[in-house]
Amino acid sequence: MADDVAGRVAGRQTGPGAGQRPEPAAGPGHAARGAVIRDALGVGIAVGLSGFAFGVTAAGSGLSVAQACVLSLLVFTGASQFALVGALAAGGNPFTAAAGAFFLGTRNAFYGLRLSQLLALPKAVKPFAAHWVIDETTAVSLAQRDRSSARLGFTVTGLSLYVLWNATTLLGALGAEAIGDTAAWGLDAAGPAVFLALLAPMLKTATERAVAVLALVLGLGFLPVLPAGVPVLVAALAAPAVLYVKGRGERARSATDEGRTR
Protein backbone atom coordinates (compact mmCIF):
# COMPACT_ATOMS: atom_id res chain seq x y z
CA MET A 1 0.00 0.00 0.00
CA ALA A 2 2.86 2.35 0.70
CA ASP A 3 3.80 2.03 -2.96
CA ASP A 4 0.38 3.31 -3.92
CA VAL A 5 0.80 6.19 -1.53
CA ALA A 6 4.23 6.86 -2.96
CA GLY A 7 2.79 7.17 -6.43
CA ARG A 8 -0.13 9.19 -5.25
CA VAL A 9 1.81 11.66 -3.17
CA ALA A 10 4.65 12.04 -5.63
CA GLY A 11 2.15 12.52 -8.43
CA ARG A 12 -0.39 14.69 -6.75
CA GLN A 13 1.42 16.74 -4.17
CA THR A 14 4.51 17.67 -6.08
CA GLY A 15 2.73 18.03 -9.37
CA PRO A 16 3.91 17.19 -12.86
CA GLY A 17 7.62 16.73 -13.26
CA ALA A 18 7.98 14.89 -9.96
CA GLY A 19 8.87 11.76 -11.88
CA GLN A 20 11.45 13.54 -13.99
CA ARG A 21 14.03 13.74 -11.26
CA PRO A 22 17.59 13.99 -12.59
CA GLU A 23 19.35 10.64 -12.69
CA PRO A 24 21.55 10.29 -9.64
CA ALA A 25 25.11 9.14 -10.29
CA ALA A 26 26.75 6.46 -8.12
CA GLY A 27 25.75 8.22 -4.90
CA PRO A 28 23.35 11.10 -4.51
CA GLY A 29 25.16 14.10 -5.93
CA HIS A 30 24.56 17.70 -5.05
CA ALA A 31 21.78 18.14 -7.63
CA ALA A 32 20.12 14.87 -6.63
CA ARG A 33 20.08 15.89 -2.98
CA GLY A 34 18.52 19.19 -4.03
CA ALA A 35 15.79 17.31 -5.89
CA VAL A 36 15.09 15.11 -2.86
CA ILE A 37 14.80 18.16 -0.63
CA ARG A 38 12.51 19.89 -3.13
CA ASP A 39 10.18 16.89 -3.37
CA ALA A 40 10.15 16.42 0.38
CA LEU A 41 9.41 20.07 1.06
CA GLY A 42 6.66 20.05 -1.56
CA VAL A 43 4.87 17.24 0.25
CA GLY A 44 5.67 18.56 3.72
CA ILE A 45 4.37 22.05 3.01
CA ALA A 46 1.23 21.04 1.07
CA VAL A 47 0.09 18.51 3.64
CA GLY A 48 1.45 20.48 6.60
CA LEU A 49 -0.82 23.39 5.72
CA SER A 50 -3.88 21.15 6.03
CA GLY A 51 -3.25 21.11 9.78
CA PHE A 52 -5.26 24.31 9.59
CA ALA A 53 -8.33 22.28 8.61
CA PHE A 54 -7.68 19.99 11.54
CA GLY A 55 -7.33 22.85 14.03
CA VAL A 56 -10.58 24.38 12.82
CA THR A 57 -12.41 21.04 12.88
CA ALA A 58 -11.14 20.20 16.36
CA ALA A 59 -12.16 23.55 17.80
CA GLY A 60 -15.49 23.41 15.95
CA SER A 61 -16.10 19.98 17.53
CA GLY A 62 -15.76 21.43 21.00
CA LEU A 63 -12.10 20.64 21.77
CA SER A 64 -9.99 23.33 23.43
CA VAL A 65 -7.01 24.87 21.64
CA ALA A 66 -4.70 22.94 23.99
CA GLN A 67 -6.42 19.63 23.20
CA ALA A 68 -6.18 20.24 19.46
CA CYS A 69 -2.48 21.09 19.76
CA VAL A 70 -1.64 18.10 21.97
CA LEU A 71 -3.32 15.82 19.43
CA SER A 72 -1.20 17.18 16.60
CA LEU A 73 1.98 17.08 18.70
CA LEU A 74 1.54 13.57 20.11
CA VAL A 75 -0.70 11.65 17.69
CA PHE A 76 0.60 13.17 14.45
CA THR A 77 -1.28 11.00 11.98
CA GLY A 78 -3.98 13.05 10.31
CA ALA A 79 -6.77 10.57 9.61
CA SER A 80 -6.69 9.28 13.20
CA GLN A 81 -6.84 12.80 14.56
CA PHE A 82 -9.86 13.73 12.42
CA ALA A 83 -11.55 10.44 13.34
CA LEU A 84 -11.04 10.95 17.06
CA VAL A 85 -12.34 14.50 16.97
CA GLY A 86 -15.38 13.45 14.96
CA ALA A 87 -16.17 10.57 17.31
CA LEU A 88 -15.85 12.80 20.37
CA ALA A 89 -18.06 15.45 18.78
CA ALA A 90 -20.69 12.77 18.15
CA GLY A 91 -20.62 12.00 21.88
CA GLY A 92 -18.74 8.73 21.73
CA ASN A 93 -17.12 7.34 24.85
CA PRO A 94 -13.36 7.98 24.97
CA PHE A 95 -12.36 4.36 24.41
CA THR A 96 -14.59 3.66 21.39
CA ALA A 97 -13.46 7.00 19.95
CA ALA A 98 -9.81 6.08 20.51
CA ALA A 99 -10.36 2.60 19.05
CA GLY A 100 -11.49 4.01 15.69
CA ALA A 101 -8.50 6.36 15.61
CA PHE A 102 -6.17 3.51 16.58
CA PHE A 103 -7.39 1.17 13.83
CA LEU A 104 -6.87 3.92 11.27
CA GLY A 105 -3.31 4.27 12.59
CA THR A 106 -2.43 0.58 12.25
CA ARG A 107 -1.39 1.10 8.63
CA ASN A 108 1.61 3.01 9.96
CA ALA A 109 3.01 -0.26 11.36
CA PHE A 110 3.27 -1.58 7.81
CA TYR A 111 4.93 1.63 6.65
CA GLY A 112 7.39 1.16 9.52
CA LEU A 113 8.23 -2.33 8.30
CA ARG A 114 9.15 -1.03 4.87
CA LEU A 115 11.04 1.96 6.23
CA SER A 116 12.94 -0.15 8.72
CA GLN A 117 14.58 -2.08 5.88
CA LEU A 118 14.98 0.93 3.62
CA LEU A 119 16.44 3.41 6.12
CA ALA A 120 18.36 0.91 8.31
CA LEU A 121 18.12 3.24 11.29
CA PRO A 122 20.32 2.80 14.36
CA LYS A 123 18.44 1.33 17.31
CA ALA A 124 18.74 4.51 19.36
CA VAL A 125 17.14 6.61 16.61
CA LYS A 126 14.12 4.38 16.05
CA PRO A 127 11.99 5.59 19.00
CA PHE A 128 12.32 9.15 17.68
CA ALA A 129 11.92 8.35 13.99
CA ALA A 130 8.81 6.28 14.79
CA HIS A 131 6.77 9.41 15.49
CA TRP A 132 7.23 10.51 11.87
CA VAL A 133 6.24 7.19 10.29
CA ILE A 134 3.14 8.32 8.37
CA ASP A 135 1.70 8.21 4.82
CA GLU A 136 3.69 11.15 3.50
CA THR A 137 7.15 10.37 4.91
CA THR A 138 6.79 6.77 3.70
CA ALA A 139 5.73 7.92 0.25
CA VAL A 140 8.69 10.26 -0.16
CA SER A 141 11.20 7.75 1.26
CA LEU A 142 10.01 4.89 -0.96
CA ALA A 143 10.24 7.12 -4.03
CA GLN A 144 14.02 7.50 -3.54
CA ARG A 145 16.64 5.35 -5.25
CA ASP A 146 19.19 4.85 -2.52
CA ARG A 147 19.42 4.75 1.26
CA SER A 148 20.98 8.13 1.81
CA SER A 149 18.37 9.89 -0.37
CA ALA A 150 15.62 7.97 1.42
CA ARG A 151 16.98 9.08 4.80
CA LEU A 152 17.18 12.66 3.60
CA GLY A 153 13.66 12.52 2.17
CA PHE A 154 12.29 11.02 5.36
CA THR A 155 13.95 13.64 7.55
CA VAL A 156 13.02 16.68 5.46
CA THR A 157 9.42 15.54 4.93
CA GLY A 158 9.03 14.60 8.59
CA LEU A 159 10.50 17.83 9.90
CA SER A 160 8.68 20.23 7.56
CA LEU A 161 5.38 18.40 7.95
CA TYR A 162 5.67 18.18 11.75
CA VAL A 163 6.52 21.84 12.21
CA LEU A 164 3.86 23.11 9.80
CA TRP A 165 1.13 20.66 10.86
CA ASN A 166 1.50 21.79 14.48
CA ALA A 167 1.78 25.50 13.67
CA THR A 168 -1.30 25.42 11.45
CA THR A 169 -3.24 23.33 14.00
CA LEU A 170 -2.69 26.11 16.52
CA LEU A 171 -3.68 28.80 14.01
CA GLY A 172 -6.76 26.84 12.93
CA ALA A 173 -7.92 26.24 16.49
CA LEU A 174 -7.39 29.89 17.44
CA GLY A 175 -9.05 30.99 14.20
CA ALA A 176 -12.07 28.79 14.82
CA GLU A 177 -12.52 30.30 18.27
CA ALA A 178 -12.39 33.76 16.74
CA ILE A 179 -14.83 32.80 13.96
CA GLY A 180 -17.34 31.37 16.42
CA ASP A 181 -19.90 29.38 14.44
CA THR A 182 -17.63 27.25 12.24
CA ALA A 183 -20.61 25.51 10.61
CA ALA A 184 -21.80 28.79 9.09
CA TRP A 185 -18.48 28.87 7.21
CA GLY A 186 -18.94 25.30 6.02
CA LEU A 187 -15.94 24.19 8.06
CA ASP A 188 -17.74 21.08 9.32
CA ALA A 189 -17.35 19.76 5.75
CA ALA A 190 -13.53 19.85 6.04
CA GLY A 191 -13.31 16.57 7.99
CA PRO A 192 -15.32 14.40 5.59
CA ALA A 193 -13.55 16.05 2.61
CA VAL A 194 -10.19 15.07 4.11
CA PHE A 195 -11.40 11.47 4.53
CA LEU A 196 -12.68 11.38 0.96
CA ALA A 197 -9.38 12.75 -0.36
CA LEU A 198 -7.48 10.03 1.52
CA LEU A 199 -9.95 7.34 0.44
CA ALA A 200 -10.24 8.12 -3.29
CA PRO A 201 -6.76 6.93 -4.38
CA MET A 202 -7.26 3.67 -2.46
CA LEU A 203 -10.33 2.65 -4.52
CA LYS A 204 -8.41 0.98 -7.30
CA THR A 205 -9.94 -2.47 -7.69
CA ALA A 206 -13.38 -4.00 -7.22
CA THR A 207 -12.26 -5.37 -3.84
CA GLU A 208 -11.58 -1.92 -2.40
CA ARG A 209 -14.82 -0.55 -3.83
CA ALA A 210 -16.81 -3.43 -2.36
CA VAL A 211 -15.24 -2.79 1.05
CA ALA A 212 -16.01 0.92 0.80
CA VAL A 213 -19.65 0.39 -0.18
CA LEU A 214 -20.23 -2.23 2.51
CA ALA A 215 -18.54 -0.05 5.15
CA LEU A 216 -20.65 2.93 4.09
CA VAL A 217 -23.87 0.91 4.43
CA LEU A 218 -22.82 -0.53 7.81
CA GLY A 219 -21.59 2.83 9.09
CA LEU A 220 -24.81 4.65 8.23
CA GLY A 221 -27.15 1.72 8.93
CA PHE A 222 -25.97 1.19 12.49
CA LEU A 223 -25.60 4.89 13.27
CA PRO A 224 -29.14 5.41 14.63
CA VAL A 225 -29.13 2.24 16.75
CA LEU A 226 -25.64 1.84 18.26
CA PRO A 227 -23.78 4.18 20.66
CA ALA A 228 -21.63 6.87 19.03
CA GLY A 229 -18.27 5.61 17.80
CA VAL A 230 -19.36 1.96 17.64
CA PRO A 231 -20.89 1.99 14.12
CA VAL A 232 -17.54 2.90 12.57
CA LEU A 233 -15.94 -0.10 14.31
CA VAL A 234 -18.73 -2.32 12.95
CA ALA A 235 -18.06 -0.84 9.51
CA ALA A 236 -14.40 -1.86 9.82
CA LEU A 237 -15.62 -5.47 9.67
CA ALA A 238 -16.33 -4.82 5.98
CA ALA A 239 -12.61 -5.43 5.32
CA PRO A 240 -12.39 -9.01 6.69
CA ALA A 241 -15.91 -9.77 5.40
CA VAL A 242 -15.04 -8.90 1.80
CA LEU A 243 -11.69 -10.72 2.05
CA TYR A 244 -13.48 -13.81 3.38
CA VAL A 245 -16.09 -13.83 0.60
CA LYS A 246 -13.41 -13.21 -2.00
CA GLY A 247 -11.24 -16.00 -0.57
CA ARG A 248 -14.19 -18.42 -0.69
CA GLY A 249 -14.90 -17.45 -4.29
CA GLU A 250 -11.27 -18.05 -5.24
CA ARG A 251 -11.18 -21.39 -3.43
CA ALA A 252 -14.42 -22.47 -5.13
CA ARG A 253 -13.04 -21.48 -8.52
CA SER A 254 -9.72 -23.29 -8.03
CA ALA A 255 -11.67 -26.36 -6.82
CA THR A 256 -13.77 -26.42 -10.02
CA ASP A 257 -10.61 -25.89 -12.08
CA GLU A 258 -9.04 -28.87 -10.35
CA GLY A 259 -12.18 -30.90 -10.99
CA ARG A 260 -12.01 -30.05 -14.67
CA THR A 261 -8.37 -31.04 -15.06
CA ARG A 262 -8.99 -34.38 -13.43
Partner: protein, 102 residues
Protein backbone atom coordinates in the same frame (compact mmCIF):
# COMPACT_ATOMS: atom_id res chain seq x y z
CA UNK B 1 -11.67 14.84 31.28
CA UNK B 2 -13.07 12.24 28.88
CA UNK B 3 -11.50 14.12 26.00
CA UNK B 4 -8.08 14.00 27.64
CA UNK B 5 -8.45 10.27 28.28
CA UNK B 6 -9.29 9.72 24.61
CA UNK B 7 -6.32 11.85 23.56
CA UNK B 8 -3.92 9.96 25.85
CA UNK B 9 -5.14 6.53 24.69
CA UNK B 10 -5.00 7.55 21.01
CA UNK B 11 -1.53 9.11 21.33
CA UNK B 12 -0.13 6.04 23.10
CA UNK B 13 -1.78 3.58 20.71
CA UNK B 14 -0.80 5.43 17.55
CA UNK B 15 2.80 5.87 18.70
CA UNK B 16 3.22 2.25 19.74
CA UNK B 17 1.85 0.96 16.45
CA UNK B 18 4.31 3.16 14.53
CA UNK B 19 7.19 1.99 16.71
CA UNK B 20 6.15 -1.65 16.36
CA UNK B 21 6.57 -1.42 12.60
CA UNK B 22 10.15 -0.22 12.98
CA UNK B 23 11.07 -2.73 15.68
CA UNK B 24 9.51 -6.06 14.71
CA UNK B 25 11.70 -8.31 12.61
CA UNK B 26 11.01 -8.11 8.88
CA UNK B 27 8.64 -10.80 7.77
CA UNK B 28 6.63 -10.93 11.00
CA UNK B 29 3.78 -8.93 9.50
CA UNK B 30 4.43 -9.89 5.90
CA UNK B 31 1.86 -12.69 5.74
CA UNK B 32 -0.37 -12.04 2.70
CA UNK B 33 -3.59 -12.08 4.70
CA UNK B 34 -2.30 -9.58 7.24
CA UNK B 35 -1.02 -7.30 4.51
CA UNK B 36 -4.29 -7.36 2.58
CA UNK B 37 -6.32 -6.77 5.70
CA UNK B 38 -4.15 -3.84 6.71
CA UNK B 39 -4.60 -2.32 3.25
CA UNK B 40 -8.39 -2.74 3.35
CA UNK B 41 -8.98 -1.61 6.94
CA UNK B 42 -8.35 2.09 6.19
CA UNK B 43 -10.64 1.81 3.14
CA UNK B 44 -13.50 0.58 5.35
CA UNK B 45 -12.88 3.13 8.10
CA UNK B 46 -12.47 6.09 5.77
CA UNK B 47 -15.60 5.20 3.78
CA UNK B 48 -17.68 4.87 6.94
CA UNK B 49 -16.27 8.07 8.44
CA UNK B 50 -16.83 10.06 5.26
CA UNK B 51 -20.45 8.92 5.10
CA UNK B 52 -21.14 9.43 8.80
CA UNK B 53 -19.64 12.89 9.00
CA UNK B 54 -21.54 13.96 5.90
CA UNK B 55 -24.96 12.44 6.49
CA UNK B 56 -25.46 12.47 10.24
CA UNK B 57 -26.21 14.84 13.06
CA UNK B 58 -25.79 13.12 16.39
CA UNK B 59 -27.39 9.72 15.89
CA UNK B 60 -29.83 10.87 13.21
CA UNK B 61 -29.29 10.57 9.47
CA UNK B 62 -29.68 13.92 7.73
CA UNK B 63 -29.21 15.39 4.27
CA UNK B 64 -27.90 18.96 4.43
CA UNK B 65 -25.41 21.37 2.88
CA UNK B 66 -22.50 19.06 3.73
CA UNK B 67 -23.68 16.64 1.02
CA UNK B 68 -23.24 19.37 -1.59
CA UNK B 69 -19.83 20.16 -0.14
CA UNK B 70 -18.76 16.54 -0.35
CA UNK B 71 -20.00 16.34 -3.95
CA UNK B 72 -17.77 19.34 -4.70
CA UNK B 73 -14.84 17.58 -3.06
CA UNK B 74 -15.55 14.51 -5.16
CA UNK B 75 -15.60 16.60 -8.33
CA UNK B 76 -12.31 18.25 -7.34
CA UNK B 77 -10.78 14.80 -6.78
CA UNK B 78 -11.92 13.65 -10.23
CA UNK B 79 -10.20 16.73 -11.66
CA UNK B 80 -7.03 15.67 -9.78
CA UNK B 81 -7.01 18.85 -7.71
CA UNK B 82 -4.44 19.11 -4.90
CA UNK B 83 -5.42 18.08 -1.38
CA UNK B 84 -5.98 21.62 -0.09
CA UNK B 85 -8.17 22.56 -3.07
CA UNK B 86 -10.35 19.48 -2.44
CA UNK B 87 -10.93 20.51 1.18
CA UNK B 88 -11.43 24.18 0.27
CA UNK B 89 -14.03 23.25 -2.36
CA UNK B 90 -16.03 21.26 0.21
CA UNK B 91 -15.90 24.09 2.73
CA UNK B 92 -16.80 26.82 0.23
CA UNK B 93 -19.72 24.93 -1.33
CA UNK B 94 -21.11 23.92 2.08
CA UNK B 95 -20.94 27.53 3.27
CA UNK B 96 -22.51 28.74 0.02
CA UNK B 97 -25.41 26.30 0.19
CA UNK B 98 -26.01 27.22 3.85
CA UNK B 99 -25.94 30.92 3.03
CA UNK B 100 -28.61 30.26 0.38
CA UNK B 101 -30.70 28.58 3.06
CA UNK B 102 -29.99 24.94 2.14
Amino acid sequence: MNVWIAIAVTAAGCYLVKLAGLLVPAGALERPLVRRLSALLPVALLAALTAQQTFSSGSALVLDARAAGLAAAGAALLLRAPFLVVVAAAVAVTAGVRALGG
